[in-house]
C-alpha cells in the first residue's frame, strides 16, 4: 500500500492514520483493530478452555472466570466481529458502487477513533484492584442481566464503554447508508448492487434501529445505580425481567447485525469460484430484508423460561421458526449457485463452503432452541453455547476471514501464500469442530454454561473441546503471519485477481490506488 502516493496531499507516518479520512485507510484501521481484539478476546477464551479442561478448580478463581466469559463475549461481539465487518464495508463498498469515498469522510475518522477508547474503558477495570487475579472487570455475562450487573462497582465504566461503542456504530451506519443511497455511480441501480452492499445497507438500518435501544438500557442501569431510579430495581417497583426484554429487543437484531455482512461476503465469493451468476439474486435481497424484519419480533425466544404466558411461548416459537424460511432460501441459493458450476477451491472459496455447511448446523440448532417446549431443556446449557458459536464463529467469523483472503490481493497487490492459507483453513476448520461439536453433547447432558467447575461426567468432552480450542486459537496466529507476509510481498496480483471475479472493485489496479473512481465509472 505504501507505494501508492500518486496524490501527495496526505500526511505520512502516524499522522496519516490519526487524521485520515480516506475510506481505504479507515478500512485498514478497522480491520487491524478488530484483529487485535480477536487476539485479546481469543486469549480470554484460552483461559476459559484451560480452566474447563479438567473438572475441579485449577487455574483461576470463579470471579476471574466469570470475568473471562463476560469479556470474551463483549470483546468478540463489539470489538472483533462488528468492527471487522465495518472495515470490509469501508474498503469495499465505495469501490463496489463506483464512489470516490464514503459520504462523510471526517465522521468516518471519528467513528473509528472512538473505538480504541471504548475498548480501553471496557478492559481497564480488569487491571484495577491490587493484583491481576482480583481484577474488577465486569463478571456478569455479556448479556449483563440485572439485578446482578447492577451490583457491579465499576458500572459507570461499562456503561460509558457501551455508549461509545453505540455512538461509533450509529455514525458508521449513517455514513454507510448515505454512501449507498447517494453516491452510486450512474446506472448502478439498487437491484444491480453487489449483494455485500445490500446486506450492509440492511445491517446499517438494523444498527440505527437497535443500538439506541441498547444505549437506553445501559442508561437505565446507570440511573438505577447512581441516581435512585427504579427501572430494574425491585425495591422501587421496577422489574429485572424488563431488563431482559429491553436487552433482547436489541440483542436478537444484534446477532443478525453480525451475520448479515458475512451473508453478503459469501454471496460474493461463491459466484466467483463457481464461475456462475449468483442464483436468485432478487430472492437473496428479499430474504435478507425479511430476516431483518423478523429479527425485531422474536426477541423473547431468549427468555422462554422467565415464566411467560403460554400464548407468549407459542407466539415467540412460531415467529422464531419462521426465520428459518428466508434463511433456508439463502442456503438454497448458495448451494444452487455451486450446482454444476465450474468450481475451483482457492482459499476464499474453502472458507465460504465451510461457512455454508457449518452455519447451517448452527441454524438447525437454532430451530431446536426456538421451540419453547424443547428450549426449556436446553436453556443455559452448553447446547446454547454450541449453537451460537456455530453461527458466530463458523458463520460470521469464517465469512469475514474468507472475505479477507478474497480481497487481500486487491488491497495489497500481492497474492497470499496459497499453501499456507490452505493449511490455515484446514487446521481452523477441523479444530473448530473439535472445539464446538462436543459442546452439543455435554449441553444435551445438562452441563450449565458460565461455570468454572463441573460434574466429572462431562470431563471427557470438555477435554476434547479444550484441545480443539487451543489448536483453533493458535491457528489464528498463522493467519496473522500470512496477512503480514502478503503485505510485505508475494506474487503480483492482476486487476481482476480471480478469473471469475465480477464487479467494479476488480476493474481497478491491484493494489487499489489511494483514490479510486474520482470520475464515476460507466455501468452497463
Amino acid at each position: 500500500m505504501s507505494d501508492n502516493h500518486q496524490h501527495h496531499d496526505h500526511p505520512t507516518g502516524i499522522k496519516r492514520w490519526l487524521f485520515t479520512t480516506n475510506h481505504k485507510d479507515i478500512g485498514t484501521l478497522y480491520l487491524w483493530f478488530s484483529f487485535t481484539m480477536l487476539l485479546i478476546g481469543g486469549s480470554f477464551a484460552m483461559v476459559i478452555r484451560a480452566e474447563l479442561m479438567y473438572p475441579g478448580m485449577q487455574l483461576v478463581d470463579p470471579n476471574f472466570f466469570n470475568m473471562m466469559t463476560t469479556l470474551h463475549g463483549l470483546v468478540m461481539v463489539f470489538g472483533a466481529i462488528m468492527p471487522s465487518t465495518v472495515g470490509l464495508a469501508n474498503w469495499c463498498i465505495p469501490m463496489m458502487i463506483g464512489a470516490p469515498d464514503m459520504a462523510l469522510p471526517r465522521m468516518n475518522n471519528w467513528s473509528f477513533w472512538i473505538l480504541p477508547f471504548a475498548a480501553l474503558m471496557l478492559l481497564m477495570p480488569m487491571f484495577m484492584g491490587g493484583n491481576f487475579m482480583s481484577g474488577q472487570g465486569p463478571a456478569f455475562g455479556w448479556t449483563f442481566y440485572e439485578p446482578l450487573s447492577g451490583q457491579y462497582n465499576k458500572l459507570a465504566f461499562f456503561v460509558f464503554a457501551i455508549h461509545l461503542l453505540g455512538i461509533s456504530s450509529i455514525m458508521g451506519s449513517i455514513n454507510i447508508i448515505a454512501t449507498i443511497l447517494n453516491m452510486r455511480a450512474p446506472g448502478m441501480t439498487l437491484m444491480k448492487m453487489p449483494l455485500f452492499v445490500w446486506t450492509w445497507l440492511i445491517t446499517a438500518f438494523l444498527l440505527i434501529a437497535v443500538m439506541p435501544v441498547l444505549a437506553g438500557a445501559v442508561t437505565m442501569m446507570l440511573t438505577d445505580k447512581y441516581f435512585g431510579t427504579s427501572f430494574f430495581n425491585a425495591a422501587g417497583g421496577g422489574d429485572p425481567v424488563l431488563f431482559q426484554h429491553v436487552f433482547w429487543f436489541f440483542g436478537h437484531p444484534e446477532v443478525y447485525i453480525m451475520i448479515l455482512p458475512s451473508f453478503g461476503i459469501v454471496s460474493q465469493i461463491i459466484p466467483t469460484f463457481a464461475r456462475k451468476k449468483l442464483f436468485g439474486y432478487a430472492s437473496m435481497v428479499y430474504a435478507t430484508a425479511a430476516i431483518a424484519f423478523l429479527s425485531f419480533i422474536v426477541w423473547a425466544h431468549h427468555m422462554f423460561t422467565v415464566g411467560m404466558p403460554v400464548a407468549g411461548e407459542l407466539y415467540f416459537t412460531y415467529a422464531t421458526v419462521m426465520i428459518a424460511v428466508p434463511t433456508a432460501v439463502k442456503v438454497f441459493n448458495w448451494t444452487a449457485t455451486m450446482w454444476k458450476g465450474a468450481m475451483t477451491f482457492e482459499t476464499p472459496m474453502l472458507w465460504a463452503i465451510a461457512f455454508v455447511v457449518l452455519f447451517t448446523i448452527g441454524g438447525f440448532t437454532g430451530l431446536m432452541l426456538g421451540v419453547a417446549t424443547s428450549d426449556f431443556q436446553y436453556q443455559d446449557t452448553y447446547f446454547v453455547v454450541a449453537h451460537f458459536h456455530y453461527v458466530l464463529v463458523t458463520g460470521a467469523l469464517f465469512g469475514v476471514i474468507g472475505g479477507v483472503y478474497y480481497w487481500l490481493p486487491k488491497w495489497t497487490g500481492n497474492m497470499y501464500n496459497e499453501k499456507l492459507s490452505k493449511l490455515h483453513f484446514w487446521i481452523s476448520a477441523i479444530s473448530v469442530n473439535v472445539l464446538f461439536f462436543p459442546q452439543h453433547f455435554i449441553g444435551l447432558q445438562g452441563m450449565p454454561r458460565r461455570v468454572p467447575d463441573y460434574n466429572p461426567m462431562f470431563a471427557d468432552w470438555n477435554f476434547v473441546s479444550s484441545i480443539g480450542g487451543f489448536v483453533f486459537g493458535a491457528s489464528q496466529l498463522l493467519f496473522l503471519y500470512i496477512v503480514i507476509s502478503t503485505i510485505r510481498g508475494g506474487a503480483k496480483a492482476t486487476s481482476q485477481v480471480w478469473e471469475g471475479a465480477e464487479g467494479l472493485e476488480w476493474t481497478v489496479p491491484s493494489p487499489a490506488p489511494y483514490h479510486t473512481f474520482e470520475n464515476p465509472p460507466l455501468i452497463k
Partner: protein, 199 residues
C-alpha cells in the same frame, strides 16, 4: 465536497436513532401495561401507597364457598437482601388450604442495624401463572414497614386461593424479599464519581 446531498439522509437517520433511544424507554410503560393486562409479576395485586380495594375476584371467591375436594400446598420463603442487616423468616414454612378458604400466616422480621429502616417487602410467586389466583386480603407487603433500631415485628398475610386456580397446580410458593427503600438515593452521585476516580 458534496455535503448537501447527504444532509437529508443524515438528518433523517439521526432522527430515527433519537426516536429509537426514546423507544427503549417507552418499553418500560409498555411492559407494565402488558403485565397488568395478563396479570404477571403480581402487578395486578400490587397496591399503590397502601390503599387496597377488595377486588371482585375476592368477593366472588368468598361467595362461591370452599372447595373441599382440592387441597393446595402453599409454601412461604423469606429472602434476606444483602444490603439490609435483617432477620426475616416465615413462622410457618408451608400450609395446606382449600380453594376459597381464608387463611392467615405470619412472618417475623427484625432490624439488626442501629438505624431506623423503612423497608418494603417485594413478593414473587412460583408458578407465575398462579399469581392472579392467589389473592391477598391483607399483606405486610402492601405498605412500607418502619423498623426502629433493633425492632422486631410479626406481620400478617391473609390470603385466599381462587377456586379458578387451574387444575394441575397443587403447590404454590410465595416468597418475599425486603428492600431498603432509602438505599441508593442520597449518596449515589458521590458514589458514581468515586467509582470513576478510584481504582
Amino acid at each position: 465536497m458534496t455535503k448537501h446531498i447527504h444532509r437529508r439522509t443524515v438528518l433523517g437517520l439521526s432522527l430515527v436513532a433519537v426516536l429509537m433511544f426514546g423507544f427503549g424507554f417507552a418499553l418500560v410503560p409498555l411492559y407494565n401495561v402488558f403485565c397488568q393486562a395478563f396479570g404477571f409479576n403480581g402487578r395486578n395485586i400490587e397496591v399503590e401507597n397502601g390503599t387496597y380495594q377488595v377486588r371482585e375476584e375476592v368477593v366472588r371467591t368468598l361467595r362461591d364457598g370452599v372447595d373441599k375436594n382440592r387441597t393446595i400446598t402453599v409454601q412461604f420463603l423469606a429472602n434476606e437482601n444483602k444490603d439490609l442487616p435483617w432477620e426475616f423468616r416465615p413462622l410457618q414454612r408451608e400450609i395446606n388450604v382449600h380453594p376459597g378458604e381464608v387463611k392467615q400466616v405470619r412472618f417475623y422480621a427484625r432490624n439488626l442495624s442501629d438505624k431506623t429502616v423503612v423497608a418494603r417487602a417485594i413478593p414473587s410467586m412460583q408458578p407465575s401463572v398462579a399469581i392472579k389466583y392467589f389473592t391477598k386480603v391483607e399483606c405486610f407487603c402492601f405498605n412500607n414497614q418502619i423498623f426502629k433500631p433493633g425492632e422486631a415485628k410479626e406481620m400478617p398475610l391473609i390470603f385466599v386461593v381462587d377456586r379458578k386456580l387451574p387444575q394441575g397446580i397443587d403447590k404454590l410458593t410465595q416468597s418475599y424479599t425486603f428492600f431498603d427503600t432509602q438505599q441508593g438515593k442520597s449518596d449515589s452521585v458521590a458514589a458514581a464519581v468515586k467509582s470513576l476516580v478510584h481504582g
